[in-house]
Subunit: 211 residues, 2 copies
């Protein structure tokens, strides 16, 4: 079964929404409520969930906690991932301390940098290693996910080290498009914070827009 | 005309894609190419663009540069925004230095924090002010967008100071849901980096998934 990428993205949004509702101790949730919170239609919510089986009973809504657990299992069946960050600058630092990663089962174990002043230091419990040792360290520490938080001009070096490694997936915070020439298919998620700013800008100005 | 939120999100993705294609000096782009790069259907691309008028001619594709300019104008008609960051920790620091904000017309002008050791310092050219002075400083500096990069437990204080201010839009990096009780409708964009991790986790494991 091939689940559309957009569905996976929305499932992640429903999960965020369910966790919030769960924190408010609300036991049942309708597809309408999920739809309103994630800015889609209720029909879309039901269609997306249908990819993964039957949830809830008609008319009564979904059990908030059960649905949250199921969606979490769908998205993250492995539950625990060792993650490294390439780039121990301000962004790498911030991501290492991002509290929700750990809660969701993503453990930032090590960082990599090329700056001799940073190598050997620690951010919290995560040690900064020389990026030249990327493959041996990530293999030894069983790291499967790499977060790229370097300046854009490190692109080629990053591509080379990841291609040679056993990394299984990438979150890319640089504006560059990474080309990993590996026979293994390595999924890459690009995080572009400017996109969020553009969307906000649209929402602020739309009242004043000529159509 | 009411443009669906999902369309606005996709328009921002098309824009990112067009900028990349433009950098490769490719002059014409088809809806199919835009679709592949942003993981939607070509029909969806055409439908989304149709909300904003006619672009390109049937069969020849879109002029990459012109379409990029038009989409940028649709998303960000104002071109220049003064932005502040609440929270001068590692994340606030990283966001202040995020190179693509400035390129897209979003200028991080000042930061706010409650830590006396940080107040008065600068990150690049942006000065850190006492969060107690939020309203007078943001009004004086004509700041319309606030990025919230504080710990989650600052939620209530943040809600209060933003409600009293003239801020027009918010990017929220905390896991908390902000309730701004203002008569003005203030759009809030939540950035949840765990969602990206969940999506990556799904993509890595989907080959090994029982259906």
């Amino acid at each position: 079964m091939d689940v559309p990428f957009a569905t996976v993205e929305r499932i992640a949004k429903y999960l965020r929404c369910l966790k919030r509702i769960k924190n408010k101790k609300i036991k049942l949730v309708s597809s309408q409520t999920l739809a309103e919170h994630t800015k889609v239609t209720a029909e879309q919510v039901r269609k997306d969930l249908a990819y993964f089986g039957k949830f809830g009973r008609t008319g009564t809504g979904y059990d908030t906690e059960k649905l949250a657990k199921k969606l979490e299992k769908i998205l993250n069946p492995k539950l625990n991932w060792n993650v490294c960050i390439i780039g121990a600058g301000a962004l790498g630092h911030a991501l290492t301390n991002y509290p929700d990663f750990k809660k969701a089962g993503f453990n930032i174990t090590v960082l990599f940098d090329s700056d001799p002043k940073k190598i050997g230091n620690k951010i919290g419990t995560a040690k900064i290693y020389d990026v030249k040792k990327f493959s041996p360290i990530t293999e030894k520490k069983k790291i499967e996910i790499a977060i790229v938080a370097t300046p854009e001009n490190a692109k080629e070096e990053i591509e080379q080290i990841i291609t040679k490694s056993k990394i299984k997936g990438i979150i890319n915070f640089t504006p560059a498009t990474l080309n990993i020439k590996s026979k293994r298919k390595i999924p890459i998620i690009d995080v572009d914070l400017s996109q969020k700013m553009y969307i906000l800008s649209f929402l602020i100005t739309k009242g004043k827009r000529r159509q």
